[in-house]
Symmetry: C2
Subunit: 419 residues, 2 copies
C-alpha cells in the first residue's frame, strides 16, 4: 500500500508525503524566517518540530540547522543528514504514526496553511552559474544567429558550457519583475538603442541547489557529484534579448540577464525524484574521462510554461517540455564546474540552461517560440512576440507517480513597466 | 606643514597618515577577525579603538560596525560614516594629539606590527563583476584573435563591457594559486586538450569595493555613483588562456577565470585617493546620457607587476602601467551595472579589467606581453611565455604625493603545481 499522510492530500497535489520539498517561510510578516516542508496544502514548520525534540536521529538531534533563517546549514550537512530528515518527517507525517497526528497543540503550532505564509528564497546564494545544456536550445539559438551550418559551436559537445550569473537579483516566485532599461543594437550606423527592453523573454529552466561544497583547488569526481546536490528548483532566467545581443560579444551575457532570476520556493530533493530517474541521452563524442559517469541520469519531470497576458483572465500554455531533454546531466555540470579547482559552497545555484525539446511546442523561451520575433504566438485571442508589461509567466513542473505527483509548485512572475 | 603621525612612517611607506587604508586582520591565528587601518609598519585595531569609546562622532559612536568580522556593515553606512571615521583616525594618529600617543596601555592593545598579523579578504563579497575598460587591452586582445581590422568590437565604445565573475574563489594576497586543469582547444580534428593549463597568466587589475547598494529595479545615477564606492584594491585576475579560448564562445569566460582571483588586503578609500584624481580620457563617441558624467575622473596610480621566477632569488619588473589608462571610469562602470535595475550590495567587487597602457612595456598580462606566447619575456636570465609552477606574481600600486605615498601594498600569489 502506498505511504499516506494523516494530512489529507489531493491526488493532484504536488506535495504528497512522497515529496516533502524544503523551503523557507514566514508564518506572519513580522516573524523570523524558518525552514519548512510542504505537505498537501500545509507547510510543516521544521523549527517547531526541532524545538519539540522530534528530530531524534544521530545527526540532527544535536544540530540547530532548523533554527536558521535559511537552509544553508542543513545543506552543508550532506546526504546522510538529508536522508535522516526525510525518514523522520515521512514517519512523523504518516497516517499510522500518532506522535504528531494525535498532538493537537503541536499540530496547531507546526502546520500552517500554505495560503497564509510568505515564502522566501530558501538559501543564501553565494554564487549562481547558468549552464547551456539543452542541445535543442543551443541549436535553435545558433541557427537563428549564425545559420544552420554553424548552429552548434564545436566546444558544445565536449563540455557543458556555462556562464557566471548574478546572485543578488535572484528572487522567489511571485516577485514582480521590472522591465529593464538598457542599450540595444544600433540600426545601421546610428547610435545604439537606449530605453526599456523591447525583447523581454523568459527562459524555462531548472537549477540544482548545492549541498556540501569543495575546497578551492580540489575538483569533485563526477561519480561523487550527486552527493553535492541537495535537490532541484524551477527557474525562470528572465532575459532581455536586445540588451543581450548588443553586449554579449566577447564576454557573454551580463545586463541582459542580471535584472532578475526567479526560482520556485520549494526545493525537491534528489531522494524524492529518484523514482523518476531515467537514462540521460547517449553522448557522442564520448565525454572526456572527468565527465564520463558510471551512471548518467536525468529525471522525467514534466515542465510547462503558461503566460497570463496583461488584462486577460486566463492563461495559455505556451510550451511543454521535460527535464529529460538535457544533454549534459547536472552531475556532469557540477564536476565540470570544479575541474579547474573552483570551489562551490552550500546554497550555490547551478541553472540547467533553457530546457527546450525537439518539437516547436517544447521550445523553452519566446526567442525560440517566435523565432526572434519573426512570428506571433497566439494566446487565446491575443498575440505576443515578446513579453508585454502586465504579462505573467508561470512555470510548473512535476513527476507523475502511481496515484501521486512529486511536484515543484509554481515559479511565476509578472512584468512591471520600467520605473 | 604636512600632517604627520606620532608613529614613525618611512617616506617610502605606502601607509602614511594621509592614506589609512582599511582591512581585516587576525592578530593571532586563533583570534576573531576584526577591522583595522594600516599606519606605517603597524595595523591599528579598530575594534580596540571602538571599545575604548574613541569613535565619538554622531554616526559611529552608536554603531557596532568595528566589532564585526568584515567591513560590510561599515561599507553599508556610506560616505558620511567613512569621512567621520577618517577624521577621527587622522586626529587620533596625528603627532599633536595625546589621546592615543600618550596612552601606553591602549597603544599596546591597539597597534600591532603588520609583520605579525594575518590579513583576510576584508569583506563578504556577494557578487563580483569584471569589466574590460582599458582600450589598449581590448585592442591588443582583439588584434591577436581577430586581426587589426576588427580589433575592437563596435559595442566597446558605447558601453563598459563586463562579465559576472566567481565570488567564491577570491582570495587575499599571499594565497597560493593551484594551477587549474581543464580542457583546451583541440589541435586539428583531435579531441580537446585535457590537463593542467599550459597558458597560465596574470591580469593586472584594480577593483572598486561597493559601499551602499541599490534596490533591485532602481538604477544608480552616474553622477551619484561615487557615493556607492568605498575605495579600491589591487587585483590579479588569474587567467588560463587555453581553457578560456576553448570555452568562451558564446557565453564568455568561465573556468578560465574561476580558479582564483587575488586582491590586496588593503582598501584605499576614494578620500585618500582624491589628491591624485585626474581627468579621464575624452570619450568619442560621446557616451549615452546615462553614462555622461559631469566630472569624469581617473586616478594617477602607478602600477607595477613583478615576477619572481621559480627557484630564482630576485624578481623582475615585467610591466609598469597606470590606473589612469582606463577609458571607462569606475563610476561609469557602476552606473552601467545598475541601468537594468541590477542590485549591488555592500562588499560587491567591480574589477576594472586588465589595465594596459599604450606602450608594450605597459601591457597588463602575459598574453599581451608575449603576444600569446609568440615571443619570450626575459626575466633577468630566465625566460617565460606563460607562468610556470613556482613563479610568484607581485602587483604593487601607489600614488606619489609631496613627500609621501598613498599606496596599496602588494597583491601577490605563487603558482603551485596541480594536485
Ligand atoms: Ca539561461
Ligand atoms: Ca579580467
Ligand atoms: Mg536572469
Ligand atoms: Mg580570476
Ligand atoms: Ni502500498
Amino acid at each position: 500500500m502506498a505511504l499516506t499522510s494523516f494530512i489529507e492530500v489531493d491526488p493532484s497535489s504536488h506535495f504528497p508525503i512522497q515529496n516533502l520539498p524544503f523551503g523557507v517561510f514566514k508564518p506572519e510578516p513580522a516573524s523570523p524566517p524558518r525552514p519548512g516542508v510542504a505537505i498537501g496544502d500545509y507547510v510543516l514548520d521544521l523549527s517547531a518540530i526541532a524545538a519539540a525534540g522530534l528530530f531524534n536521529g544521530p545527526i540532527l538531534s544535536n544540530s540547530d540547522c532548523f533554527h536558521q533563517p535559511n537552509l544553508n546549514k542543513f545543506l552543508a550537512l550532506g546526504r546522510p543528514a538529508w536522508k535522516e530528515a526525510r525518514a523522520t518527517l515521512q514517519k512523523l507525517l504518516s497516517s499510522t504514526e500518532p506522535t504528531l497526528r494525535d498532538n493537537e497543540s503541536l499540530k496547531q503550532k507546526s502546520l500552517i496553511p500554505l495560503s497564509k505564509v510568505e515564502m522566501l528564497v530558501p538559501m543564501a546564494i553565494g554564487d549562481y552559474s547558468d549552464f547551456f545544456s539543452s542541445m535543442h536550445h543551443a541549436k535553435n539559438c545558433g541557427t537563428m544567429f549564425r545559420g544552420p551550418q554553424n548552429a552548434i559551436q564545436p566546444n558544445w559537445f565536449h563540455l557543458p558550457i556555462a556562464y557566471h550569473g548574478r546572485a543578488s537579483s535572484i528572487v522567489v516566485s511571485g516577485t514582480d519583475i521590472i522591465r529593464p532599461r538598457g542599450q540595444g543594437p544600433p540600426s545601421g550606423n546610428s547610435t545604439p538603442y537606449f530605453g526599456p527592453s523591447l525583447k523581454l523573454d523568459f527562459e524555462l529552466e531548472m537549477a540544482a541547489v548545492v549541498g556540501p561544497g569543495n575546497e578551492l583547488g580540489k575538483p569533485v569526481d563526477v561519480n561523487e557529484a550527486a552527493d553535492h546536490i541537495f535537490g532541484l528548483v524551477l527557474m525562470n532566467d528572465w532575459s532581455a534579448r536586445d540588451i543581450q545581443a548588443w553586449e554579449y560579444i566577447p564576454l557573454g551575457p551580463f545586463l541582459g540577464k542580471s535584472f532578475g532570476t526567479t526560482i520556485s520556493p520549494w526545493i525537491v530533493t534528489l531522494e524524492a525524484l529518484e523514482p523518476f530517474s531515467c537514462d540521460a541521452p547517449k553522448q557522442d563524442p564520448h565525454p572526456l574521462p572527468y565527465l564520463a559517469e558510471k551512471i548518467s541520469k536525468n529525471y522525467d519531470i514534466k515542465l510547462e510554461v503558461q503566460i497570463k497576458p496583461a488584462g486577460e483572465k486566463d492563461s495559455s500554455v505556451v510550451t511543454k517540455s521535460n527535464f529529460n531533454h538535457l544533454y549534459w546531466t547536472v552531475t556532469q555540470q557540477l564536476a565540470h564546474h570544479t575541474i579547474n579547482g573552483c570551489n562551490l559552497r552550500p546554497g550555490d545555484l547551478l541553472g540547467t540552461g533553457t530546457i527546450s525539446g525537439p518539437e516547436p511546442e517544447s521550445y523553452g523561451c519566446l526567442l525560440e517560440l517566435t523565432w526572434n520575433g519573426q512570428k506571433q504566438l497566439s494566446l487565446n485571442g491575443v498575440t505576443r512576440k515578446f513579453l508585454e508589461d502586465g504579462d505573467e509567466v508561470i512555470i510548473t513542473g512535476f513527476s507523475k507517480g502511481n496515484g501521486y505527483n512529486v511536484g515543484f509548485g509554481t515559479c511565476s512572475g509578472k512584468i512591471l513597466p520600467p520605473l
